[in-house]
Structure formats: structure tokens, C-alpha cells
Amino acid sequence: MSHEHQYSNWQLIKDGLFKENTIFRLAISLCPAIAVTNGLKNGVYMGLAVMFVQVMVNVTVSSIKNFLNPLVRIPVFMLIISGWVSVTDMVMAAYARDVYRQMGLYIQLIVAFASILVMAEMFASKNKVVPSFFNGLGSGLGFMVALVVISFFRELLGRGSLWGFEIAGGSKPLLIMLLPTGGFFAVGILMGFFNWIDIRFYGGKGAGGASGH
């Protein structure tokens, strides 16, 4: 590649966490952000699964990039992604049975995540293995942090517990936060909150705006 940038590994992780946070800033791969965040435990497992797939896909793509005909790169990327998703799917089906039963479908659907294909295409196919690893790690961590934040509020408010442990004993939880509605509310309000921080303290425009995908 003609221009290989020098990236510091820490910068790559930080970008993935904040500036290019998959959920709150880029607003892609939103489906699991709502689907599996009704408990902290599910959120963490889903985040781990995505992080694993993202890192492995980035490393694989970056290490084979020199042997790859650019014409067939997208199908090859899809094949790599679906391969690693199958691995994750089978590992979780074997070792995390109770979690898998609730969110097996969403694990399988990691394969259709825009964020993973985007990172493979935009970053890993142009950079060396080590930066690609950290890029994947950062973007996966950002995704996981977003899921953890969302599921933290949803479980705390909706069930009065965290990771299954009772916290707000006695008080009546807000059932609505566990329903689909609560998921949409939580993401919308948190997104608005981060936009507010961005506008108020950093003079930004408030991203996560009109974009879709």
C-alpha cells in the first residue's frame, strides 16, 4: 500500500472506545445493543463475542492481504467473518449454555454486522497485523463498553439487580426497562446524553445524527 500510516497502539484503542464508538458515535450494528442488553451478563458476553470476532477477523484479513485479489476481497472477507462467527457460536453453545439459549440467534447474526466488515475493509486490508489487532481490540472494546453501559441501566432499573444479584431490594422495579421499549429508550437517551456532552464541552456537532447503517 502506498501510504502506510504510523498508528500508536494506544491511540487506536482510544479511537475505538470514544471517537469511533460503534454504537454511540458511528451508530452501526445497533440490533444487539437493544436485543441482548436486558441484563448485564448478556451484555458482557455479547461484547466479548463481538470483540473476539473483530480482533480475529482483522488479524486474518491483515495477514492475507498480500495474497488477495482485490476483485474478490468482499466475498473473501465475508467468508472469513462467517468462519470466525461459526467458531464463536460453537464455543458459546458449548461453554456458556444459559447465556447462549437466550441470545444464540444474535451471536449468529454477528456475521451481518456492518462494523466488522467496515473495519476489515477500511483498516485491516491496508495495514500491518499489529495495528490491525489493536484497531480490532479498540473497536470491540468500544462496542462492549456501550453494551455494558446500556445493560447496566436496563438491569438496574428494570430488575433492581446487577449480574443477577439483588441490589434495590424492596423497591418496585420499572418493568418497562426490560421490555423492548426500554431498550430503545435507553439507547436513545444515552445517545442524546453523549451528544450533549460533545456539544457542551467539546464544541462538537453531536454525531450519531442522521446517519443510518
Binding site: 451508530a27 452501526i28 450494528s29 445497533l30 440490533c31 444487539p32 437493544i34 436485543a35 466475498p75 465475508m78 467468508l79 462467517s82 468462519g83 462467527v85 461459526s86 457460536d89 460453537m90 444464540g104 440467534l105 449468529q108 447474526l109 456475521v111 451481518a112 454486522f113 456492518a114 466488515l117 418497562i176 421490555l179 423492548p180 421499549t181 426500554g182 431498550g183 430503545f184 429508550f185 439507547v187 436513545g188 437517551i189 445517545m191 442524546g192 446524553f193 451528544n195 450533549w196 456539544i199 453531536g206 450519531g208 445524527g209 442522521a210 446517519s211 443510518g212 447503517h213
Partner: protein
């Protein structure tokens, strides 16, 4: 007769009770991206439903007659995404040759569909539930129309929201999320309609 009844039940369950957007949370990226104008939403619905029905039929055939006999069902993620992507690509090419007018209207959406989670979810759910061919088709039809209903509702609301005064941090996507939450609350009301 009871067989026909169960098909209708499946259709209602797929389109209203387990609506893809509001209960299963799939296809949100497209949902928020496309639901800005009613016209686009309708075009998207037609394309989506057609692709969904055909791809669920294709993947059912391959799953039942090739993958189960060969005992390679663990490859279903790889195979299904291949089927869907190949089908969407060829539909794109065929439509462009045969009917440029239709392609001009609906073809743009095909590009968005190729790797969409909804399209992939339908064959995966069909395989997991072990539906028959007819049931798979009905499930695809119901899911597609349910998704279309969600798109049209949301698009009509967003056309009105364009004129509303919204606090700056909530402009665009955050507000769309809160609105979707309210619609989802209404859809929760369908949950007692049929007990499968």
C-alpha cells in the same frame, strides 16, 4: 383446516407479535436509515419481502436436501450468507438486464440488503425451528410485511418530526430511538393475541 389455521397463526406471529423491528430488534440499521420518507419505505418493503420469501425457499431447499443428509449443519452460517449474497447479487444483475425501469425504482435497495441481518435471520430461524417449506415461506412473507409495516409507520411519523423543534443533542437518531420505543410499546399489546 387446522393446518391452514396454524399457517395464519404463524403469519400473525411473524408480522405483529414477533415483529422484527419492535420485538426482535433486527434490521435496525436499515430501519433507521430508510424510514425517512413513506415512498422509500414502500419500495423497500416490496424488495425486502420478495427477497425474504425467495431466500427462505432457497435456503430451506439447500438446508433440507444438502446440509442435513451430509451432516454439515454446523456450517449453516457460512452457507446461508453465501446463498443470500449470491441471490441478491444475481437478482441485481437480472433485474438490471430485464427491467431497467423496475431496477431504477427498487434496485437501489438491493445493494443495502446483501448483508442485512434480517434477511439472514429468516433462514436461521427457519432452520432452528425446523419449519416445513410452506411454513418457511409464510414466515418469510409475514416477517417481510411486518418489517414493512414498521418502516411505513416510522416514516410517516418522521415526516412530521421534521417540522418539530427538537433539542440539539436529540436531533436525528436519538429522537428516532425514543419514538421507536413508543411504537414498540404499542406493539407489546399484540403479545397476548395468539399463544403459540
Amino acid at each position: 383446516m387446522s393446518d391452514f389455521g396454524s399457517l395464519i397463526e404463524l403469519f400473525v406471529a411473524a408480522s405483529l407479535i414477533n415483529n422484527f423491528v419492535f420485538t426482535r430488534f433486527l434490521g435496525l440499521c436499515i430501519f433507521f436509515g430508510v424510514s425517512k420518507k413513506v415512498e422509500t419505505a414502500v419500495g423497500m418493503t416490496i424488495t425486502f419481502t420478495a427477497v425474504m420469501i425467495i431466500s427462505s425457499a432457497l435456503s430451506w431447499l439447500i438446508y433440507t436436501y444438502a446440509m442435513i443428509p451430509l451432516d454439515i449443519t454446523f456450517l449453516k452460517i457460512v452457507v446461508f450468507i453465501g446463498i443470500v449474497a449470491a441471490f441478491v447479487q444475481s437478482a441485481d444483475i437480472i433485474m438490471r438486464k430485464i427491467s431497467p425501469g423496475l431496477y431504477y425504482k427498487l434496485g437501489v435497495y438491493l445493494a443495502l440488503i446483501a448483508t442485512n441481518c434480517i434477511i439472514l435471520a429468516v433462514p436461521l430461524i427457519n432452520a432452528a425451528e425446523g419449519y416445513s417449506l410452506i411454513k418457511s415461506l409464510v414466515f418469510g412473507l409475514g416477517s417481510g410485511l411486518g418489517f414493512g409495516l414498521a418502516l411505513v409507520i416510522m416514516a410517516s411519523i418522521r415526516e412530521k418530526l421534521e417540522l418539530a423543534q427538537v433539542p440539539r443533542p436529540f436531533q436525528g437518531l436519538p429522537l428516532a430511538f425514543v419514538t421507536t420505543g413508543l411504537i414498540a410499546l404499542a406493539f407489546t399489546g399484540f403479545s397476548g393475541l395468539i399463544t403459540l
